[in-house]
């Protein structure tokens, strides 16, 4: 890394954003304190919608953390120099997002103080417990991978380390998808297509985040981005967006084909109020069609940053529909019967996220931002083309 030019963060915006993120992270901690003191009653979650907005943020961060490593993999595993120059930044971003996502996930637990219990009691049949191992392994592997890039004597190990990270992140995102794929009881989940769907979604979301961070660091350094680089990564984003759209479509199509699932598909895509609105408008239009237009529309200058922002907005819309909408639709405990009870049987569950959930979620984003911004500054991970 010795040949890298020093990083000058002349932009005042950098420090303003850093301070603002610090405040958001602190606010997140305060929200956690209130949630632990009063219980989850102050959130919008209940016994029907048991995972709420914090899970949307956490899963976005964890999935994107895996996907952002694509940039590193294309460099180290497939030997593309342009991507290899960006591998350190991608690795740092991955660690930062993983940390932010896990923080949100852990702090939303009913008993976050029992973290040591989770670390010392591993149920081998639980995909949640597998994920504890997968996340820790990911952290360690990325740090080793970074070491092989930063320490000249370790350079020879860079390719094997890159390969290990490449394999591990596939397993990691499979694990994230399996959290839902293993839920046999619920109409929205329990599908083998979910792990591959999450993997391809991670490619798109990770690259979108990478584009934003890269654009921001270039701007802070008052450096011009090579148009050829933008052109290539832009097309890659387009391909990933199309790929993920395809898998989401197949997921809904298979559901639509099963008579017992038609009610659920009607709910999530047509009749479910906020959920179809978010799916069609948020995910399909804002998160896919508009970015694809921005990327592929002939004869106009591409706005890669705008496309990336929209892909991320679409990601949140999709996760909200998938996680919250999937729980809001009632369990079909008695097929062929209409059910009613005091516990929400046969009823669409209602959920409105509270301010504490938003603050916790943004706190996770803030943690990821702080780690990235400080890391880029300290380690001088600016891509050198």
């Amino acid at each position: 890394m010795s040949g890298y030019s020093p990083l000058y963060l002349r932009s005042r915006l950098y420090y303003v954003l850093l301070a603002a993120s610090g405040l958001v992270a602190l606010a997140g901690m305060f929200a956690v304190y209130l949630m632990e003191h009063h219980g989850h009653i102050i959130t919008g979650m209940n016994n029907q919608v048991v995972w709420g907005l914090p899970h949307v943020f956490a899963i976005f961060l964890i999935v994107a953390a895996s996907g952002v490593l694509n940039v590193a993999s294309i460099g180290s595993v497939f030997g593309k120099a342009m991507y290899k120059a960006r591998a350190p930044m991608a690795s740092l971003l991955s660690v930062a997002m993983l940390a932010g996502g896990l923080a949100v996930l852990m702090l939303d637990l009913g008993r976050p103080d029992r973290l040591i219990v989770a670390a010392t009691n591993i149920n081998l049949t639980s995909v949640f417990a597998w994920n504890v191992v997968l996340y820790t392994g990911m952290f360690s592997l990325i740090i080793i991978y970074l070491w092989t890039m930063m320490e000249r004597r370790m350079n020879g190990w860079n390719k094997p380390a890159g390969l290990a990270v490449f394999v591990w992140r596939f397993i990691l995102t499979t694990g994230t998808g399996l959290i839902f794929a293993f839920l046999t009881a619920r109409q929205a989940y329990g599908s083998a297509i979910l792990p591959p769907m999450f993997i391809v979604l991670s490619f798109a979301w990770g690259l979108a985040v990478f584009h934003l961070v890269q654009a921001a660091t270039y701007a802070w350094n008052e450096r011009q981005h090579d148009p050829a680089v933008i052109e290539r990564t832009k097309h890659l984003l387009g391909i990933f967006v199309i790929g993920s759209l395809y898998l989401v479509a197949v997921y809904h199509l298979t559901n639509l084909y099963f008579a017992q699932q038609v009610g659920f598909v009607r709910f999530i895509l047509i009749e479910g109020g906020i959920y179809p609105a978010l799916f069609w408008l948020g995910y399909i239009v804002v998160g896919n069609l508009v970015p694809l237009g921005l990327i592929y529309w002939p004869g106009r200058k591409t706005n890669c940053v705008a496309a990336s922002v929209l892909v991320i907005v679409g990601a949140f819309a999709l996760l909200y529909v998938f996680i919250i909408g999937g729980q809001a639709y009632p369990l079909d405990i008695f097929p062929g019967f209409a059910a009613s009870s005091s516990f929400g049987d046969g009823q669409i569950a209602s959920y409105s996220p509270s301010i504490y959930e938003f603050v916790l979620g943004f706190g996770g984003l803030a943690i990821a931002f702080i780690l990235t911004a400080v890391g880029v500054h300290i380690f001088n991970f600016m891509p050198q083309d």
């Binding site: 219980g39 989850h40 009691n121 293993f182 009881a185 405990i333």
Partner: protein, 238 residues
């Protein structure tokens, strides 16, 4: 023997004596709190047979008894714990109505136990599915996995708990089949409270038990039998 040796001896005697007095009550209390010494038998499998023909629409005696026995508030808001609930179902094509109580089905292969990251959800040797409140981290994955929506999350601080049924804010809970009563040779509170005798409780593994005999002779079903969980609670008339 010089004076120093005596002092040392006295010091040792006093220390050991004090330590014994300090520790002894702890041992005694531990012994009392330990309850029955012998482990539960894996030969027994506790279960229930619910006759929906006897279960009256509008009657919620089992729910009331459960709430009282286990120290639940009885509230029915979306964040209140409900270990047992009355479900009214109506056949969509014929319009036939059935009323039944729904609670943890105490599966032989419980999905909640499979997914629990910390082994807090567990199945006792006698088939009762429980949550270890000391191990539960409140991740709610078991609530996502349960096909019967049998579990509740404690959303608020609790007061006035029943000492036999410890609960805790931030942890997940569900029907324990009144394990504290079973261990004393009693029946679950809901069974005892049902004036129509709609719930039959007993050992499914004992061929001579009333429940085993009845299951052999009348048609009964497991709810969501297609999931292959082999539930301990069975229903007649649906």
């Amino acid at each position: 023997m010089n004076i120093n040796d005596l002092r040392r001896r006295n010091f040792l005697k006093t220390s050991i004596g004090t330590a014994a007095v300090a520790i002894a009550p702890g041992f005694l209390l531990f012994d009392i709190a330990h309850g029955k010494a012998q482990a539960v038998s894996g030969k027994v499998r506790w279960g229930m047979l619910i006759d929906t023909a006897q279960c009256q629409e509008g009657c919620s005696d089992c729910v009331t008894a459960c709430n009282k026995e286990n120290g639940l508030s009885g509230g029915t808001s979306a964040t209140d714990s409900q270990w047992i609930r009355k479900v009214e179902i109506k056949d969509i094509s014929s319009g036939r109505k059935v009323s039944l109580p729904m609670m943890c089905q105490h599966c032989e292969h419980p999905p909640c136990v499979d997914v629990c990251p910390t082994n807090a959800s567990f199945k006792r040797a006698d088939g009762i599915v429980l949550v270890d409140r000391h191990r539960c981290i409140g991740c709610r994955y078991c609530m996502m996995a349960c096909p019967y929506k049998a579990r509740s999350f404690v959303h608020e601080p609790l007061t006035d708990q029943n000492p036999d049924v410890p609960r805790g804010k931030g942890t997940v809970e569900s029907c324990t089949l009144c394990v504290h009563r079973i261990d004393k040779g009693q029946q679950p509170a809901c069974v005892e409270s049902c004036t129509n005798k709609a719930i039959l409780f007993g050992d499914l593994n004992n061929p001579d038990s009333e429940i085993a005999k009845k299951i052999r002779t009348v048609a009964s079903v497991q709810v969501r039998a297609s999931l292959g969980l082999n539930t301990g609670v069975r229903y007649q008339g649906i």
